[in-house]
C-alpha cells in the first residue's frame, strides 16, 4: 500500500508545482486532494485500522506542511470562479482571517511533528489537528452541497 501511495503523493506534488504558475484553481485542488488522501491514512491509524507507521506519519505531516506553505499564493483575485471551484467568495472577503488560518495550520503541523512519537501521542494530537484546521476552515470557506 505504502509503495503505491508514495509515488501517488509525489506525482500530486509534482503536478501541483507545474500547475501553480498557470492555473491556481487546479493547483490548490491538487493540494487539497493530496491533503485528503494523507488525512485518510492518518484517520486509519487514529481509528486503529492501520498500525502506527512513523514514515507514513512523516509523509502526512510533510504533505500538510507543504499545503500550508503553498496555499496562500493560490487564491489570487482572479481565481474566484471557474474550474468547478468550491472556494467560497468569503475567502476574498476575509483574506486576513483566511491567511491567518493557513499560518496556524502550518504551526499546528510543526507542533504535531515535534510531539508525535508513537501511537499514543499521534492519537492525542490527530483529531484536534484535523478538527481545528481542516474542519474549521471548511466551515467558512468551502461550498458544500
Amino acid at each position: 500500500m505504502l509503495r503505491l501511495i508514495l509515488p501517488v503523493a509525489a506525482l500530486a506534488l509534482a503536478a501541483t508545482f507545474a500547475a501553480a504558475q498557470s492555473d491556481p484553481i487546479a493547483a490548490r485542488k491538487a493540494l487539497m486532494k493530496a491533503n485528503g488522501q494523507q488525512a485518510k491514512i492518518g484517520a486509519a491509524i487514529a481509528k486503529g485500522e492501520a498500525p502506527f507507521d512513523a514514515a507514513k506519519v512523516e509523509t502526512i505531516f510533510a504533505t500538510f506542511a507543504d499545503a500550508a506553505a503553498k496555499a496562500p499564493d493560490l487564491f489570487p483575485e482572479n481565481s474566484k470562479k471557474g474550474g468547478k471551484t468550491e472556494a467560497l467568495p468569503a475567502i476574498w472577503k476575509n483574506k486576513p482571517d483566511f491567511e491567518a488560518r493557513l499560518v496556524k495550520f502550518g504551526d499546528d503541523v510543526k507542533s504535531a511533528q515535534a510531539e508525535v512519537k508513537d501511537l499514543a501521542t499521534f492519537k492525542k494530537v490527530w483529531s484536534g489537528l484535523i478538527r481545528k484546521n481542516c474542519t474549521g476552515c471548511h466551515e467558512k470557506y468551502v461550498q458544500k452541497d
Binding site: Q38, G48, I130, T135, V142
Partner: protein, 304 residues
C-alpha cells in the same frame, strides 16, 4: 330561513373558535410535577454540549461560546428568527426563570409568559429529554456568564407571526413524552438513541419537512434541503452511510473528517466542535445508534 342560517353560522363559528382556543392552549409543566432533584452540573454540561445550545444561542462571532446572549439570525421559509438571550441575566435572559419554566420551554415549547415558541427552537426533539437532564442543564446554564441585552423580535411572514396558531402545529408534533429506553436493546444503543433523538436533535436538520414545517416521519434521517438555506443535508441512514463503520461515524464526530478524507462543512462543523467535547463513550453510542437506523431512500437534490 335567513334567521336560521345566521344562527347556524354564528354557532359554527363559536364552536370552531372554542375548538381552536382549546386546541391551542399553551401546555405547561408545573413545579409540583417535578419533585425533588439535586442538580448534577457535570451532567448539565454534557447536556449543554450534546444539545448544541451554543450553536444558536452564543453571541455570533464571539470567541467564548458560553456567552449565550443570542442575536443570531436564522432564515427559514416562514421568516427570519432572531435567537433569544438565554444567559442567566435576570432581566434579559433566563436568570429569573424557575426550573418548571425551563422544563416547560424544553418539553412543551411554551414560554414563561404562556406563549408558544416557534419550533426553530427544537423542542420537538428536546421534549424527549429526561426531566432530570433538563434540570441539570438549567443548573449548568445558571453558571455561565451573564450577558445583558434583549434580542429583537422575529421577523415572520404572514400569517406565521400569529403565535396562537402554533398550538395546532404543536398538537401534531409535541406530546411532551420523554425518551423511553428499549429493554430489548443494549445500554449503548439506548444511550445513543437518547442522545440523537433528544438533546442532539439530529433529525431536525437531517430529515425533510412537509409544507407546514413538520418532519416527514417516514423520511426521518434520510436527508433533505438545508432548512437554513443553501445546500442539502445528507441522508445519514445506512442507505447512504452503508460503507461507514460505527468507528468511522464516531471518528467523524471527533475530527470532522469524512470517509473520503474530506471535512464536514457548514453547520456540521459547529456540531463537531460540540461532539468532540463529549465523552468518547457517548460518541460511540451515537455512532452505534446511527448505524442501527433503518435504511431509507431519501429524496435527492434537483440538479442545477
Amino acid at each position: 330561513m335567513l334567521r336560521k342560517l345566521v344562527i347556524a353560522v354564528v354557532v359554527l363559528a363559536a364552536l370552531g373558535g372554542a375548538a381552536f382556543w382549546f386546541l391551542t392552549i399553551p401546555q405547561t409543566v408545573s413545579a409540583a410535577a417535578l419533585g425533588p432533584h439535586q442538580p448534577d452540573l457535570e451532567n448539565g454540561r454534557t447536556m449543554f454540549i450534546a444539545g448544541g445550545c451554543s450553536g444558536c444561542h452564543a453571541v455570533p462571532e464571539a470567541e467564548d461560546k458560553t456567552r449565550l446572549g443570542g442575536g443570531l439570525a436564522l432564515k427559514s421559509p416562514f421568516g427570519t428568527f432572531y435567537v433569544p438571550n438565554i444567559s442567566p441575566d435576570r432581566r434579559d435572559g433566563i436568570g429569573a426563570w424557575s426550573e418548571a419554566d425551563f422544563v416547560t420551554a424544553l418539553s412543551r415549547g411554551t414560554s414563561p409568559d404562556g406563549r408558544h415558541y416557534f419550533p426553530a427552537f427544537p423542542y420537538t426533539s428536546y421534549q424527549r429529554m429526561r426531566p432530570d437532564d433538563m434540570r441539570d442543564l438549567f443548573a449548568y446554564l445558571k453558571t455561565l456568564p451573564v450577558v445583558s441585552g434583549v434580542v429583537r423580535d422575529h421577523d415572520m411572514a404572514f400569517p406565521f407571526g400569529f403565535r396562537r396558531g402554533l398550538g395546532l402545529w404543536k398538537f401534531l408534533y409535541v406530546d411532551g413524552k420523554p425518551f423511553v429506553p428499549d429493554p430489548g436493546k443494549s445500554a449503548v444503543l439506548n444511550r445513543g438513541a437518547y442522545l440523537v433523538e433528544g438533546p442532539g436533535h439530529c433529525a431536525e436538520c437531517h430529515s425533510p419537512r412537509n409544507l407546514i414545517g413538520g418532519i416527514i416521519a417516514a423520511q426521518r434521517f434520510a436527508g433533505g434541503p438545508n432548512p437554513e438555506g443553501k445546500g442539502w443535508i445528507p441522508n445519514i441512514t445506512p442507505k447512504e452511510l452503508g460503507d461507514w463503520s460505527q468507528n468511522d461515524i464516531a471518528y467523524l464526530l471527533d475530527s470532522g473528517q469524512t470517509l473520503d478524507g474530506d471535512s464536514v462543512g457548514g453547520s456540521m462543523a459547529e456540531v463537531v466542535r460540540n461532539t468532540a467535547q463529549l465523552a468518547a463513550e457517548d460518541r460511540t453510542a451515537i455512532a452505534a445508534y446511527i448505524k442501527s437506523l433503518p435504511p431509507i431512500e431519501g429524496s435527492k437534490p434537483t440538479k442545477k
